[in-house]
Amino acid sequence: MGYRLLLAIVLSLALLFIDVRFSQLNSARQILNTALSPVQWLSDLPNQLYRGVTFLFTSRQSLEEEIDLMRARLLVLERKSQKLASVTAELNRLRELLNASRILEEGVVVTELIGASPDPDHQYITIDKGRADQVYLGQAVLDAEGLMGQVIEVNEFNSRVLLVSDSRHAVPVKINRNGVRAIAYGVGSVNFLELGNVPDTTDIEVGDLLVSSGLGGRFPKGYPVARVSTIEHDPGQPFARVRAVPLAQLNRSELLLLVFKESEQPDQPTSGGEQP
């Protein structure tokens, strides 16, 4: 019995080492995950049933009220977007005058959440679009309020999204008010992110909106990420301790948006530097 345990331990440590150091196992992982997608689908079933049953018992009146509310909201949003087309065109003309590159329009595809990490320390979600829908590695995912995270694993019919709050994640951001750049690190809590290496003298205030800066080429520019909630200045520390609350509803959103950059091939992973 003992030698079997030894064998199993050696085998799993070898696998662990290969998986951490090299990327050869990624294709195997994709194939196996695709084979396991029925389990993903089954695990979403209780939630779908719950939604279906609540829908059955919704009264006609409350549905009508909801439609009225949505119509009103649509009207407000349409009014906001009316001027957007002309403003974008004007902005592009001005940028041409400055010899800067044009701002590319981004396409979005709506996707649905089908699973969340079973482990509270691991912040990722599973969405119902995969390689069949041209999802690519590193793609940005938004919800209605702000940036959610990026795609870290693409399977045939679903993919895994690392949330901005995971402790392995960082987003390049800038302060919307004055353009100061910073990096927002996840710390493993959905309630706040931390800004790294912000000097004590930086012009930053509580309530400042942080938007993605587009540096690094991973995330598209200009999407809201978080709002600064606390700033602590400790004379003993070289940097200020800045915390920001993510705007996306990281643990509640069910409908999400996948952002497609229009200039790029959909199946090619993003890499910085090929844009002028």
Binding site: R4, L5, I9, V20, P46
Partner: protein
């Protein structure tokens, strides 16, 4: 508890159920209390049929857990092989214990599993180092009697 009760179909179905339960989206309050269903299921089969279920099954189940959790390959495999060894070593006594005493052992076993997984994770990346995950071991122990009763019925019905 006769050997003829064994069927791979029952093993497959119980593990499928455990995998689904492992992934179901729970409300935020309950999420830190999610029992380790796959571990419970493995311990059940180790107790009932140690002559068929052993290290190889543990490795396959560990691989599936690694895939479902999106963790590095080998993490759950290592943890599960350790607890498989422990459970098999005390299996003769464990199956004679009353259910409450079994649940206490299940608490220890799930705790060892979780600790192994978290230790590996802490060496490979950043974790906040809290011991909150041990609540999962407690809830697993609480669910153990349920697992025994339900799975016994289920396997009997499938026979």
């Amino acid at each position: 508890m006769v050997v003829s009760n064994f069927s791979w179909l029952a093993v497959f179905l119980t593990f499928l159920l455990a995998a689904v339960l492992e992934l179901v989206v729970l409300p935020a309050v309950l999420a830190p209390l999610r029992p380790e269903w796959m571990v419970l299921c493995l311990v059940y089969w180790l107790l009932r049929h140690p002559e068929r279920i052993g290290m190889a099954t543990a490795l396959v189940v560990g691989l599936i857990m690694d895939l479902l959790a999106g963790s590095y390959f080998g993490m759950h495999m290592l943890a599960l092989s350790i607890i498989t060894y422990l459970v098999l070593a005390m299996q003769q006594r464990l199956k004679m214990f009353p259910v409450v005493q079994q649940a206490a052992i299940v608490f220890l076993v799930t705790g060892i599993h979780l600790m192994t997984v978290y230790t590996i994770r802490a060496t490979l990346s950043v974790t906040d180092g809290s011991l909150e995950y041990l609540w999962q071991a407690l809830s697993s122990a609480v669910c153990w009697p349920l697992v025994i009763v339900l799975f016994d019925r289920f396997v009997f019905a499938l026979r």
